[in-house]
Amino acid sequence: MKARVHVTLKPGVLDPQGKAIANALHGLGYAELGDVHLGKYIELDVAASDAAEARARVAEMCERLLANTVVENYAIEIAD
């Protein structure tokens, strides 16, 4: 099974990279651009008997390693 995980900064946490990207794009003339936020996107292959099991295991991986839950949120999608 394939799991797709998005790890994003919690609202209100400083996002220096997002800020720098937005400034750079403004500098390139993209005046129509508002906020930019940079997160991580992780694809994992997992063997599991069903989607619920896969989701539970991946959530555990997020808590333990993939996300820094002090400052980050994560969201999991399971596709088979």
């Binding site: 919690k10 209100g12 400083l14 220096p16």
Partner: protein, 578 residues
């Protein structure tokens, strides 16, 4: 919570103020405070900002010498190195934040100590870090160690200041409370040193740097509270560092400092706008009026309470000469930093906080600063312990070699190369004594001079005998410096201890300071800056007493320095000392 929130005993307790402290606050105010004012008192009177438990003892440390230009009390200490040049340096702790989020905690610790040094007009030229971790096999430790080391590197490398050394110990006493102490050394012209005393009625008060968010609100009181089971719950108070903005801030501040536009400048550290504005006003015997709606923010709907207590990083507060705002603005805009006039110096002796035309807070400055609590906490001397290992002669090689192997393999003695290879220790092109020796040696750019820099303390000695441990730490720093050929000049310190409300812990603090003071006096080696970190305990167990010492010395001719490497076969090896 709004400014109209009624102040209940619960709210007072949440702000970490004791009943007596709250009584004193009411006397000073002559009325009930509102929430903003309570928050300000709580931050200013926290252990972190007020040194209420240690002040009495810190005063006993020697702080002067003919070469000391500025001792403790400013952002950092300043010593003269001749030719119109000065070294400005300080060490500071970021222990609690690093335990909660090791990468960002350590990174923002580096950012904070850098600001303390360039605030005074110095270009940072070197950094060090003194780290104490728990048992390497403790389940959390690997994550903490790698997070702290990469956080220090991530920030320092990006800013472009070499991290030239430090020290690293492991002991189970730090399992629940690691120590992350960072030291920064900067170089300035003696004619261009900047201080923090606000002056000049009507002068503009200016905010520069990053925008303010809701970061680390109450971080200062968090750093003063013993860790309990709920440490995890306090997570959102962690700040995120932005080393790129810090680099721009260094360049912009140093550029503006080339002119004479700045009257006073102070970085926004713990308790942000609160401590910076109060310190500037207090030192200058002035008042300040702040227009909080003018503070650049990155989130909408921020309240005066949040604006005053936010610990967003990479921000500074300045007082400018009248009419110099545009010139300063141009410099900061060139470096793509926020710049805002957010208030003015007054002669009222009060801090008046305006928000959208209304008064959000109005506090007297002197009484709040002078009235901050100072405790003479009861202390008991550390009992004399019998040495655990008695020295005894062993000349059987069979026993010596395995023992040596064991020693070399122990985490405390193993090579630190894996740490300092993650730090850029060569950027700026003046590191002539790289990590790996007793003290690092950094050239004073464009001269023959160099500074030697080291950090040291042996906590187990301090635990066994605080007085001797304190003395020993100073002596070892002295030796580390002289071993490079330097003349030791002065030290900074970071006093990491447990809960000072316990007499035996207070006894460790007192003993260490007494030992340090004696050694400093004996060696004419003054303390010019420092920091105290108390309540380093988890569920009632304290850390080892850890007064980390950072020392600097001057090498007049860097071509004549010494290092630890054996140079050739047949050279004689001489042992000096007892």
């Amino acid at each position: 919570m709004t400014a109209e929130t009624k102040i209940t005993p619960e709210i007072v307790a949440e702000h970490g103020l004791t009943r007596d402290e709250y009584k004193r606050l009411r006397q000073i105010m002559g009325r009930e405070p509102n929430l903003v004012e309570l928050g300000i008192f709580s931050a200013m009177w926290s252990e972190h900002c007020s040194y209420k438990s240690s002040k009495k003892w810190l005063k006993t440390l020697p702080t002067t010498a003919p070469w000391v230009i500025c001792g403790p009390g400013e952002n950092a200490g300043v010593v003269d190195i001749g030719d119109g040049q000065a070294i400005i340096f300080k060490m500071e702790s970021h222990n609690h934040p690093s335990y909660i989020e090791p990468y960002q905690g350590a990174a923002t610790g580096v950012g904070g100590i850098l600001r303390d040094v360039f605030t005074m007009g110095a270009r940072p030229i070197a950094m060090m870090n003194a780290l104490r971790f728990g048992d390497p096999s403790h389940p959390k430790m690997k994550h903490l160690i790698s997070g702290v080391v990469s956080g220090i590197g991530g920030y320092g490398n990006c800013v472009g200041v070499p991290t030239v050394g430090g020290e690293t110990n492991f002991h189970p006493a730090y399992n629940g409370n690691i120590l992350v102490n960072a030291m920064c050394v900067g170089l300035a012209d003696t004619s261009k040193i900047f201080y923090s005393a606000a002056a000049g009625i009507g002068n503009p008060v200016v905010y520069v740097g990053s925008k303010t968010g809701r970061d680390g609100i109450h971080g200062a009181s968090m750093a003063s509270a013993e860790f309990g089971e709920d440490a995890e719950q306090k997570r959102p108070t962690v700040q995120v560092g932005d080393p790129f903005t810090e680099k721009l801030l260094i360049e912009a501040c140093l550029e503006l400092m080339q002119s004479d536009a700045i009257v006073a400048i102070q970085d926004m550290g713990a308790a942000g706008l609160t401590s910076s504005s109060f310190e500037m006003a207090d030192k200058g015997d002035a008042g300040i009026e702040l227009w909080l709606d003018k503070v650049p923010t990155r989130e909408i709907g921020m309240t005066p309470y949040e604006l005053m207590l936010s610990e967003s990083q990479e921000r500074m507060l300045m007082v400018l000469k009248p009419g110099r705002e545009d010139e300063a603005r141009r410099v900061f805009e060139k470096w793509e930093l926020d710049f805002a006039v957010i208030g003015k110096v007054t002669d009222t002796g009060r801090m008046v906080l305006m928000f959208n035309g209304a008064v959000a807070g109005d506090l007297p400055i002197k009484p709040l600063a002078n009235g901050s609590p100072e405790y003479d906490r009861p202390w008991t001397p550390t009992p004399q312990r019998r040495p655990i290992v008695l020295p005894r002669g062993r000349d059987d090689l069979d026993a010596v070699l395995p023992a040596l192997e064991k020693l070399i393999g122990s985490p405390d003695l193993a090579s630190r190369r894996w740490i300092w290879e993650q730090y850029d220790h060569m950027v700026m092109g003046d590191t002539i004594g790289r990590p790996g020796g007793d003290a690092a040696v950094v050239r004073i750019h464009g001269t023959r001079k160099a500074v030697a820099i080291t950090t040291d303390v042996t906590p187990r000695y301090c635990y066994a005998d605080p007085y001797q441990g304190g003395r020993q730490a100073i002596a070892e720093v002295w030796r580390n410096l002289t071993a490079t050929g330097a003349r030791p000049l002065a030290i900074t310190d970071c006093l990491n201890f447990g809960n000072p409300e316990k007499p035996e812990i207070m006894g460790q603090l007192v003993g260490c300071i007494q030992g340090m003071a004696e050694a400093c006096r004996g060696l004419n080696f003054p303390v010019v800056s420092g920091n105290v970190s108390l309540y380093n305990e988890t569920q009632g167990t304290g850390i080892l007493p850890t007064p980390a010492i950072g020392g600097i010395g001057l090498i007049a001719d860097s071509a004549r320095r010494a290092d630890i490497a054996f140079k050739a076969a047949d050279h004689a090896i001489i042992l000096i000392g007892e």
